[in-house]
């Protein structure tokens, strides 16, 4: 870290602004608000077919159920029957056709949540079943896509592959992931006078909810206010998804004139909502004897589920991260966006980037094993150069490349080479346990690829008592955004953080906001809030200069108060004086990210303001009898620029890493042959538990980090990139499996690498090629 000693707030490891509320149970979430008079509870009646026409629905049992007040379905929506964010292809209530098990068909309103949920199961729906497409292979074979396929191509990949001294091809399957935010989806809609609606909803994107609620009600944006103080976790699962629940609650409130709460239970949440996209990644690569990639062809096919949602930009980001840290001179990256009869898949931390990265890391690993080299050496020789070989397949020059020094530092700190030798020794000594180790890098592009999203607004009030109300378009989902932006404001005014209150995101306070997503929260909102502070500071300074007869350049905001020439005025005192002198102490702030431009048609340009980097070394042990495995040690070095708050950034790194471990090792989504998700609660869907945190885990932020771009205090975004540090665990498992296959064995391991997948991978080794288990492994680097 650069020297932050002089700072008051920025760069300090301050606790989360709500930490004292979290631990005492006093932090309020949507479901915790006192319930208003006349509140009705909604429950959703869902499809139990993957693909079918609805011939008829018999609601008589629902209507007769105790406590039921109203039933609403497609015909009851006054405006647009849609909650799709980009393309209007997501009906709120199925209108004659259902396209996945769990799709919303109708809603029941009742006097208690229990009565509503019981009644919602009582509808008798007469279906005419249609053929369902339930996996990527079938979708590709049948040409079932939600969007046209896209390709990025540079150079002559086919010729370069054919002309290289070695060729390989292969296929990798990577599963999806449920967000498993601890707070499930919830919305409460309150009818207000003159046709207006207030919605309290757990959302990363209040503005989008506002737009979709207004459209469903046939109203305009001014008629809908959406508010969210905090979410109990988001991870992308509350970017587009909450609109469905908010629209149903709002339509129900509009219809009954009563407030309506819609809180789905865990099972309904997991059945109804979309997840991280599963991918199938095929590759062909040509490379030289050192492992340098000469030409590569990557074909990505993702499971988008039944509708478009954000699958366009998610798949584009997957394409944009199919290079990771590697220069791919002759390259073709193709992306297919498969339509299947499953829940429509949505944003999830990394937004396609992790899947793209898995693709190229697999290629590198395959090359290394084929050539009998340490994969780390093959990674290194393919790294982007600093001054040449530094243009991405989409035409952006990598100007801020620090992966060489970052990986070198981690390699030494983690003792990678020595441990690699020990792992090989352990494996050569026989036994049913095998160990593996891998170091994998991360380079992640920061900015929304949809350029217009890269803007933010803030609203700042200084009150007469010197206390400060901060509001911005970003939402708090636990990532510490409110904490960081409050630190920025504290630093600007040189006041203690407890003078500042960051209030709930509210579409009535800051309009036209972007989703809090793409790791951009602090970058955008920190800058917007600072802009507002700068305006108010300038007004206060001008007033102080005039009032105390000091030159403007001699007015400074200090920890002791505002210094105006020789006068030192208490901040609150100055605020009051300014008010009395009729100076405005309120301002908006606005920011747009500079430098970025990107052509959505040609998929080229500079989509990202900068890149964030990191790397991890993981060592694992696995049981070759059962496929069970555990992480023995992980070392992480991550780049957060000049961290705004090292404690919060460490939290993002650690939490992101373990969430990635879950995605790649244990979190298996399993559908039955009829397309019903059978892993729809924590008893069947297993996110990492406490004991899954490695016994030894050394996590550091690079202490020389500094964003070369002019971001807020030269910090870097840190929300998504660390998730991909977990790819090191996946490759360590492959490394351990390879130990059973002898020299040049190339295990094929589907993710998530559950014990069963590991055992499958081991089983497939024997069919691959004979190897000598105790043969000499790997030529010296």
């Amino acid at each position: 870290m650069a020297d932050k000693q002089d700072n008051l707030a920025v760069g300090k490891a301050l606790p989360h602004e709500s930490a004292h509320l979290h631990v005492s149970g006093e932090a309020g979430y949507v479901d915790d608000q006192p319930e208003p008079r006349g509140l009705l509870y909604a429950a959703i009646g869902c499809s139990d077919r993957a693909h079918a026409r609805i011939r008829h629905i018999d609601f008589s049992a629902v209507r007769a159920a105790p406590g039921v007040v109203e039933i609403i379905s497609a015909g009851d929506i006054p405006g647009a029957n849609n909650h799709g964010p980009v393309i209007a292809d997501d009906p709120v209530f199925a209108d004659g056709l259902v396209e996945y098990v769990g799709q919303s068909v109708f809603a029941v309103l009742a006097d208690t949540a229990n009565n509503a949920r019981k009644a919602a199961r009582m509808a008798r729906i007469d279906y005419e079943e249609l053929p369902a497409i339930l996996d990527i292979d079938s979708a590709v074979a049948q040409g079932s896509f939600v969007l046209p396929s896209q390709t990025i191509e540079r150079g002559q990949p086919d010729q370069a592959i054919a002309g290289a001294s070695h060729q390989l091809q292969g296929r990798l399957r990577v599963g999806g992931q449920d967000h498993f935010y601890l707070e499930g989806q919830i919305a409460v809609a309150y009818p207000r006078e003159d046709g207006a609606t207030l919605v309290h909803v757990s959302t990363q994107h209040p503005t989008e909810v506002q737009h979709l609620v207004a459209a469903a009600l046939g109203k305009s944006s001014k008629d809908v206010v959406v508010e969210c103080r905090r979410m109990g976790g988001g991870f992308g699962g509350k970017e587009t998804t909450p609109a469905l629940f908010a629209v149903i609650a709002a339509v129900a409130a509009h219809r009954t004139g009563r407030p309506v709460k819609l809180r789905v239970d865990r099972d309904a949440d997991m059945m109804i909502t979309g997840k991280r996209h599963g991918f199938r990644i095929d590759y062909k690569a040509g490379f030289d004897a050192r492992g340098l990639i000469r030409g590569i062809d990557l074909e990505l096919a993702s499971d988008c589920g039944r509708s478009t949602d954000l699958s366009g930009p998610i798949n584009v980001r997957a394409m944009f991260h199919s290079d990771n840290c590697y220069f791919l001179e002759h390259v073709r990256i193709t992306s297919h966006r498969c339509k299947t009869h499953k829940a429509s898949n949505v944003a999830f931390r990394g937004f396609g980037g992790p899947q793209g990265m898995m693709g190229i890391e697999n290629v590198i690993d395959e090359i290394a094993r084929y050539l009998d080299k340490d994969p780390l050496d093959v990674r290194k020789i393919n790294f982007y150069g600093k001054n040449d070989s530094n243009v991405t397949p989409y035409g952006m020059t990598v100007e801020d490349n620090i992966i060489h020094e970052l990986v070198d530092e981690l390699e030494i700190k983690s003792g990678y080479r020595e441990r690699r030798r020990q792992v090989d020794e352990f494996n050569d000594s026989g036994g049913i346990l095998k160990r593996g180790i891998a170091l994998t890098p991360v380079k992640f592009g920061i900015s929304f690829t949809a350029t217009f999203y890269n803007q933010a607004g803030a609203l700042l009030h200084v009150y007469r008592d010197g206390s400060i109300m901060l509001n911005h378009g970003g939402t708090e989902m636990g990532q510490g955004l409110y904490t960081k932006v409050s630190q920025v404001i504290a630093e600007e005014f040189q006041v203690d953080r407890d003078r500042i209150k960051c209030t709930a995101a509210n579409t009535g306070k800051v309009p036209n906001t972007s989703a809090t997503a793409a790791s951009s929260g602090s970058d955008l909102n920190g800058m917007a809030a600072r802009a507002a502070a700068v305006v108010i500071k300038r007004r206060m300074a001008e007033f102080a200069a005039q009032h105390y007869g000091a030159p403007l350049e001699q007015v400074r905001f200090t920890r002791a108060g505002v210094q105006a020439g020789r006068e030192l005025i208490d901040f609150a005192e100055l605020a009051n004086q300014a008010y009395l002198a009729r100076i405005s102490l309120s301002s908006t702030g606005y920011y747009r990210t500079p430098k970025i431009n990107y052509d959505q048609e040609t998929l080229s340009g500079r989509p990202f303001f900068y890149f964030a980097y990191g790397a991890a070394v993981s060592e694992v042990v696995l049981d070759t009898l059962t496929g069970e495995h555990r992480i023995l040690r992980t070392d992480i070095l991550h780049d957060a620029g000049e961290s705004l708050n090292p404690a919060i950034d460490m939290g993002q790194v650690e939490g992101g890493y373990l969430q990635g471990v879950g995605w790649l090792t244990g979190e298996e989504l399993w559908w039955d042959p009829q397309g019903t998700l059978m892993t729809h609660s924590p008893s069947t869907y297993k996110i990492p538990a406490c004991s899954d945190w490695p016994r030894e885990c050394n996590v550091e932020l690079v202490d020389w980090g500094r964003n070369r771009e002019e971001t807020i205090y030269r910090s870097k975004a840190v929300g998504e990139p660390p998730l991909m540090l977990a790819i090191s665990v996946y490759h360590a498992l492959k490394d351990a499996i390879a130990a059973l296959g002898g020299v040049r064995a190339r295990p094929v391991l589907s993710a998530p690498a559950t014990p069963e997948q590991v055992l499958n991978s081991i089983g497939n080794l024997s069919g691959q090629k004979p190897g000598t288990a105790n043969g000499k492994r790997r030529a010296a680097a």
Partner: protein, 497 residues
């Protein structure tokens, strides 16, 4: 204390301590969960619902009750605990902690703040309460003990590292104000001396009343079951709670056995252990561990402390799930059930208790009174049990295997091998056992036994594993058992980097 000094619970009134005050409840549906009662009736919204099935821990609260050493504090999942079962106990929620810390943050809470243990904060109250239970029960927990204590709490944000740190640091902030002696006296005053009976109108079924009985004596329990043959027998409620929260089932008559003093006993003799039906898994495991340390993996990986604190060993058995984790081990150890109907008592080997999927040999009005576990472990006896699941902690087995072997001069004299997850019920591998008996215990014998096992099971494919994996692993676990009898290290869980 004599019975006359009891103020006891009146018929129809649930009485427990909340923040040290006597809290009385009448006229709530017996299936009202503690969580819903806190949130909807008391507006104590600090306790959260994350899953309503006892798997995420956001709803964790702590219950204190008298025990032989004074008062014991135990975490439970409030989302599946029915409110009447709190009768006679003391309840602590996240809101209680400031009240036992002079209005400031409790040591556990302060450690969580200082270690940055919360991000989104939604799981945090549950973690705080599990840590509070750990704080009261342990002084310097190891990483293993911390992992175990927190195994029933899921956090999606932090990666757990800062919470583990807080679990170590919470002891640095001094003591809270809990006065166990005083608490014990207060608990004594509300100790239920009599049976509790509730009869409440059911809002969702007109003119029907839900009935709840918590008898105090064994014969009263037996009589009630004869009078109400269709009643739901409730012990820990860690499965029955889900019938209500997940399946919205009506449970018109519930008979709770947790207040029957005669069922809350562990009888240790020279050759067997008898564990009563009201004994929690936590207490049952503590004593089993003394005799069968080889059960460690099964016991450690059985659900989580909140579930083990509420759930009972006999409940796990009587529930009859094909994937209950205690049965394979108990069957291979030769456990026997004590069954009672009215005043008739009979014994039945556990091995004969499961005629079919989710079926038991219980007759109408009959219940499991106790389980007996033999303790004879002569020379040449080997015993192991293993659990295979996607996650180490708090997961349901794909396959669970237990192996009892008696060798005489290197030859298999007796073998009892039982698996869960391989059939509709926990089931012995008879063909496999037959192929072992009389053979020299070596690799060739084991390979032959694995082949024989193919005839024993036709496992299913489901979300936990394919049938092929189950088959393969069942065989490999026998191999592991063999290797362990020869001293080979086979467990990834014992490996350290």
């Amino acid at each position: 204390m004599s019975a006359t000094e009891h103020t006891g619970a009146d018929n129809g009134t649930i009485r427990f301590l909340l923040d040290d005050n006597v809290h009385e409840v009448t006229d709530v549906a017996p299936t009202t969960t503690v969580l819903n009662y806190l949130r909807e009736y008391l507006q104590r919204t600090g306790t959260k619902e994350g899953c309503a099935e006892g798997d995420c821990g956001a709803c964790t609260v702590v219950v204190a009750e008298p025990d032989t050493q004074g008062v014991r504090f135990r975490s439970i999942n409030s989302c599946i605990q029915f409110l009447p079962t709190l009768n006679g106990k003391a309840l602590y929620t996240v809101e209680s902690l400031k009240k036992i810390s002079n209005g400031g943050l409790h040591p556990v809470q302060q450690a969580m703040v200082d270690c940055h243990g919360s991000q989104c904060g939604f799981c945090t109250p549950g973690f705080v309460m599990s840590l509070f239970a750990l704080y009261r029960n342990s002084a310097a927990p190891t990483r293993d003990e911390i992992d175990d204590a927190l195994s029933g709490n899921l956090c999606r944000c932090t990666g757990y590292q800062p919470i583990i740190r807080a679990a170590r640091r919470m002891y640095d902030y001094g003591q809270d104000l809990v006065d166990e002696a005083e608490l014990g006296r207060r608990l004594d005053k509300i100790r239920p001396g009599e049976s509790l009976e509730l009869s409440v109108e059911n809002s969702s079924r007109v003119e029907v009343r839900d009935r709840y009985f918590a008898p105090a004596g064994l014969s009263e329990l037996a009589d009630l079951l004869v009078r109400h043959p269709g009643a739901t027998i409730l012990a820990g409620g860690t499965d029955i709670g889900l019938w209500f929260t997940k399946e919205y089932r009506d449970l018109p008559v519930i008979i709770y056995i947790g207040q029957v003093g005669d069922l809350d006993y562990i009888d240790e003799t020279a050759d067997r252990l008898e564990i009563g039906a009201a004994v929690s898994l936590t207490d049952a495991f503590a004593v089993l561990d003394k005799y069968y340390p080889d059960l460690f993996e099964i016991m450690r990986r059985f659900a989580s402390p909140p579930i083990r604190n509420a759930g009972t060993l006999c409940g796990n058995i009587a529930n009859g799930s094909p994937i209950g984790d205690t049965m394979p081990a108990l069957i291979s150890l030769g456990a026997v059930l004590v069954l009672r109907r009215g005043s008739q008592v009979r014994e039945l080997p556990l091995d004969e208790f499961y005629p079919g999927y989710r079926e038991t040999a219980l007759q109408e009005s009959e219940f499991v009174q106790a389980v007996q576990v033999p303790l004879r472990r002569g020379a040449g006896v080997h015993f192991r049990s293993y659990k295979i699941a996607k996650r180490y902690d708090q997961d349901i087995s794909a396959v669970c295997g237990a192996y009892y072997l008696r060798l005489e001069s290197g030859v298999v004299a007796d073998a009892r091998i039982c698996y869960g997850g391989m059939a509709a019920v926990p089931q012995r591998a008879r063909q496999c056992e037959d192929s072992l008996r009389g053979r020299h215990w070596d690799q060739a014998t084991v390979e032959a036994a694995i082949k024989a096992m193919v005839e024993d099971y036709q496992p299913l494919t489901d979300m936990r594993a394919t049938s092929g994996y189950r088959r393969r692993v069942a065989g490999n676990l026998l191999k592991r058992f063999y290797l362990e009898t020869t001293g080979v290290e086979t467990s990834v869980w014992a490996q350290h980097g």
